[in-house]
């Protein structure tokens, strides 16, 4: 059994694209866990989606053995953390399972807002953080400048940081030595009552839920009766083991300081919430590990099958996805325009996009998604408070005393040339300026408070385009604040289309309504009659466009007896109709419902 002093539990912290996954791959390769031939590019990012987008969605772990220069063998447990603000809580739990963190910084780009956020998170968890400078082989690499930046901005020693190229395998050994030297060995009493932190879980159709955990105190083996302290679920352990690369390696026992998994015929990931503490049912520990939070959905939207008959398939797919994703929430809802579907809750916009893409790709579903919204608190005149996730459920204005919306605090790092445009953007999005500090001659860190509903649409895209890609952004939830909010309704041919309603700040209602009408005018095909498109607030029309009546549509010539071609044209026309939703006597294409997501694109 490995002694605690020979174990190193660590994670890698980096900005997207700075080479986290590549470094992880090199470490796995270097420690001989897999031969080069067996290496698949980026072993840890399992999902296609993760590889394509270069982000990690689920936490992963891998155990490697490294023979250090001091002649001893060390067990290195690498815990890969999700790389996006949506998964902040998951990141914090994964960090809590580690004792140290390798900070990867791109030698050309330096520190980004996300790097900062993650480093602060790691320091908050008392992790030993040490930097490595990656991509030193790039012509634009400036390792000395980046070292100074790390010391100035983060305040950690960087002069002896390994200079590496994960891509080309340069300096990997230095990183491994630094891990052994700098990451402290775990402490913990193997004879104390069991206390283990869940940092992720995975549903397997044969084994049930596989719980990823770090043992803080005590031991666990087959037959141990365990209890999840927050959810109260109990189970008898069937198997414990380590994480191989892409496989699970059973072992006899896990003890304090180790990272591994357990299976216990658990059927639902909701019983094994991330952040919960695993203890022994018969000999529980005195108190649970700190930091457990119940997952809350931040962003909601309606998801409907494009083909109404596929409702059961969508239901089935959502059920399967929640087996593995405790943070995905859904409940049935109906829309007059879209029929039967689900109101779904997500951690953030990325999470929403990931789920949407997985439904479409893995379950081959064609979806219609309504505009995403946040959770509003509606205080009614009768003293009641409701948490509003679907704009259609907004009570009558006469029953509303006031409403509150969620506010986030945001940090934006930007080169000085783009400070102006970015401040303008934040201003447009109802941002409240907090501070600006230059972190070096050329770059500044802007701090703003922004309403969450202003950033869930297309804030990232706007940020990128207005800074030519030179801005990075991170945010966290701050508080709810009272706000002047109204429900904007869209009427097509005088009929309200529920799926197009959304909540908006009163000051932006006119602008939003106008753009919605313009966009819908382009999306809705012409009918034989004129179709007014109106935006209304509280029954008062604030913007209007008209889809003109179609006066002429005929295939004039039909030469040479090529009937098949004419038939194909008519069939295409009909096919287009199938993908439409009937509202009153107007046919609205599915794409119209989603066009509201892209209102700010010019």
């Amino acid at each position: 059994m490995t002694k605690q002093e020979n174990i190193r539990n660590f994670c890698i912290v980096a900005h997207i694209d700075h080479g986290k996954s590549t470094l992880a791959d090199r470490i796995i390769e270097k420690t001989g866990l897999l031969t080069e031939r067996e290496m698949q590019e980026q072993v840890l990012d399992n999902m296609d989606l993760e590889r394509e987008r270069g982000i990690t969605i689920k936490a992963q772990a891998v155990r490697t053995i490294y023979k250090a220069k001091d002649g001893k063998e060390y067990v290195l447990n690498l815990i890969d953390t999700p790389g996006h603000v949506d998964f902040n809580y998951e990141v914090s739990r994964a960090l809590a399972a580690c004792d140290g963190a390798v900070l990867v910084v791109d030698a050309a780009q330096g520190i980004e807002a996300q790097t900062l956020a993650n480093v602060y998170l790691a320091l908050d968890h008392d992790l030993e953080v040490f930097p490595v400078i990656n991509k030193i082989d790039l012509p634009s690499a400036e390792p000395e400048r980046v070292k100074d930046e790390i010391e100035d901005v983060i305040g950690i020693e960087a002069q002896d940081a390994p200079l590496i190229s994960a891509k080309n395998g340069i300096g990997i050994e230095d990183v491994l030595e630094a891990i052994v030297e700098k990451v402290p060995a775990p402490k913990g009493d193997p004879d104390a009552p069991l206390k283990a932190l869940i940092f992720d879980s995975l549903y397997d159709s044969y084994k049930g839920v596989i719980v990823f955990m770090r043992i803080m105190d005590g031991r666990i083996k087959k037959g141990t009766k365990v209890k999840m302290m927050a959810t109260g679920a109990t189970a008898e352990v069937v198997e414990v083991g380590f994480f191989g690369a892409g496989q699970f390696l059973p072992c006899d026992e896990l003890s304090a300081g180790m990272v591994g998994y357990l299976t216990a015929s658990i059927k639902n990931v909701k019983d094994t919430a991330v952040g919960d503490t695993v203890t022994e049912a018969d000999r529980p520990c005195a108190e649970a590990l700190p930091g457990y939070k119940k997952v809350l959905s931040m962003v909601y939207c309606g998801i409907y099958p494009a083909d109404g008959a596929k409702y059961p398939d969508l239901k089935d797919a959502l059920e399967k996805l929640t087996l593995n994703d405790a943070s995905l929430f859904y409940e049935p809802e109906t829309s007059i325009a879209l029929g039967f579907g689900f109101r779904c809750g997500f951690l953030g916009l990325l999470h929403l996009e990931v789920i949407q893409e997985r439904l479409e790709r893995e379950y081959d579903l064609d979806l219609v998604t309504t505009a995403p919204g946040v959770v509003y608190k509606v205080y009614k005149t009768n003293g009641e408070m409701i948490e509003l996730t679907n704009p259609s459920n907004l009570p009558d204005p006469s029953e509303i005393d006031h409403m509150e919306e969620p506010i986030v605090s945001a940090e934006i790092m930007v080169t000085k040339d783009f400070i102006g445009p970015i401040m303008e953007l934040c201003q447009e999005r109802r941002g409240r300026y907090l501070s600006m500090e230059y972190i070096e001659a050329n770059r500044a860190l802007l701090k703003y408070e922004l309403p969450l509903n202003e950033i869930i649409y297309d804030f990232f895209d706007a940020l990128k385009s207005r800074s030519k890609g030179y801005a990075s952004f991170d945010y966290e939830m701050k508080a709810y604040e009272e706000s002047k909010l109204v429900k904007l309704d869209i009427l097509i041919n005088k009929e309200e289309v529920d799926a197009l309603s959304f909540i908006v700040h009163a000051d932006s209602a006119y602008e939003r309504g106008r753009r919605m009408c313009e966009r819908l005018k382009d999306e809705i095909p012409r009918h034989l009659f004129e179709i007014p498109i109106q935006a209304a607030v509280g029954g008062k029309v604030i913007a209007r466009e008209t889809v003109k009546a179609m006066r002429k549509d005929v295939l004039a010539k039909c030469y040479g007896g090529d009937i098949t071609r004419k038939k194909k044209l008519l069939e295409k026309q009909k096919e287009g109709k199938k993908r439409m939703r009937q509202v009153g006597n107007v046919e609205i294409p599915q794409s119209a419902f989603m066009s509201v997501l892209k209102l700010d694109e010019e």
Binding site: K521, D522, R526, L528, V547, K548, A549, M550, R551, K552, D553, V554, L555, A556, K557, C558, Y559, G560, G561, D562, I563, T564, K566, K567, L569, L570, E571, Q573, K574, K577
Partner: protein
């Protein structure tokens, strides 16, 4: 029992220069290739004869491209093959499309002599500016000369193609063209509006305008939708008062001069197409020849067929509806029921009712037909039958 009838379509895919709006299978080609094509075409027609034994050929149509690039000798040999190998009805309608820029009196006389009895002249406009925009090789003057030569050569059945909705064209311009044309008293006038098809030079040129017009907005160069409609309505009024009857969405004729060949398409008669990309429909089976000229020239008869499709009864009915409704007199419900196993209402009742309610279809005297308003938006009406 009456012998089965058959029509023949013969495709000549060559032209002097491709017109800017043209999306037909047509292109300029050098003499050698044209000759090889012609030889292969003669062989194809001769070899296919065996498949149509006992059928009486009631019409032949030389279409293109520009069939008037054929010499009189060439049409004579083609006609001789048909007369020799097929059973050509004595009163068969035999049409050839002619570009005014490619014919003279001698050539037309030779055509007449070879057996062609109907000429379809691709005039398109009687305004030189419009002809230039279209990329036509002829001018107004050339058309008059060609028309006169055709009459001199003895053609007593002449169609003239005329287009409306041209870039820069105003209703008054179109009116002038039409009035000049009816002065010549052709037996038949094909008056259709320009459709800008993908893949043509026009499509690239007027793409932005098309997008505007599709939304109902005012285009910059193309006539707007209202003007287009106005031209169609005006054309119909002028032609009617000059004695032409509209018998199909875009076809007008003096009494008795309706084109029989086109009627075969609308009434789903049998026709065999020869030449590059030519379409056929025989015994409820549709197919097309290859549209690759190298394949066509080197291929054997069996290797030419593409996209062969046996039509189910349901498909036949669907075609009968959207083709039959092109004819102004409409679909005779009894005739339909006899051929397709039931009244149109039995298969399309809901849609027909809706169309009648919207005032787009009329159901009178046992016939279903498009109303005037229905003719404007015929695609919408037809869409419900596919």
């Amino acid at each position: 029992m009456r012998s089965k009838e058959l029509s023949l379509y013969i495709h000549i895919p060559f032209c002097v220069r491709k017109c800017a709006y043209c999306d037909f299978l047509s292109f300029p080609a050098e003499e050698g290739l044209r000759q090889k094509y012609y030889e292969r075409l003669c062989r194809e027609i001769a070899e296919a004869a065996g498949d149509y034994k006992g059928r009486s050929v009631i019409s032949i149509f030389f279409g293109g491209g520009t069939p008037s690039l054929l010499t009189g000798d060439m049409t004579l040999r083609l006609m001789d093959i048909v007369r020799d190998k097929y059973c050509l009805s004595t009163d068969a309608e035999i049409s050839l499309e002619a570009n005014p820029g490619t014919v003279d009196k001698d050539k037309l006389k030779a055509y007449k002599k070879s057996g062609i009895n109907r000429l379809s002249i691709g005039c398109q406009s009687l305004n030189d500016k419009e002809l230039a925009v279209l990329g036509r090789i002829h001018r107004e003057e050339d058309f008059y000369r060609a028309f006169d030569a055709a009459r001199n050569a003895g053609f007593t059945n002449i169609n003239v193609d005329l287009m409306s909705g041209l870039p820069g064209q105003k209703p008054a311009d179109y009116e002038k063209s039409i009035r000049k044309l009816i002065g010549l008293k052709p037996e038949h006038i094909s008056a259709y509006s320009l459709i800008i098809e993908e893949g043509t030079e026009f499509y690239n040129r007027y793409n932005d305008d098309l997008l505007l017009r599709d939304k109902g907005d005012i285009p910059r160069l193309l006539p707007d939708e209202e003007e287009e409609r106005q031209m169609l309505y005006m054309g119909r009024d002028i032609l009617r008062s000059a004695g032409y009857e509209q018998y199909e969405i875009s076809n007008y004729a003096l009494p008795g001069s309706e084109c029989r060949h086109n009627a075969v398409y609308w009434q789903r008669g049998d026709y065999a197409g020869f030449g590059l990309g030519a379409s056929s429909c025989v015994d409820e089976c549709r197919w097309k020849n290859t549209d690759d000229i190298k394949e066509y020239i080197s291929g054997d008869a069996a290797g030419l067929k593409r996209d062969e499709q046996k039509l189910s009864l349901e498909e036949q009915r669907s075609e009968a509806m959207f083709l039959g409704l092109r004819l102004i007199r409409g679909i005779d419900k009894k005739t339909f029921a006899l051929r397709y196993g039931g009244d149109p209402y039995a298969f399309y009742g809901e849609w027909i009712d809706k169309m009648v309610n919207e005032g787009l279809l009329q159901d009178t005297d046992g016939k279903l037909k498009l109303s005037l308003k229905g003719q404007d938006v015929a695609n919408y009406v037809w869409g419900g039958f596919v």
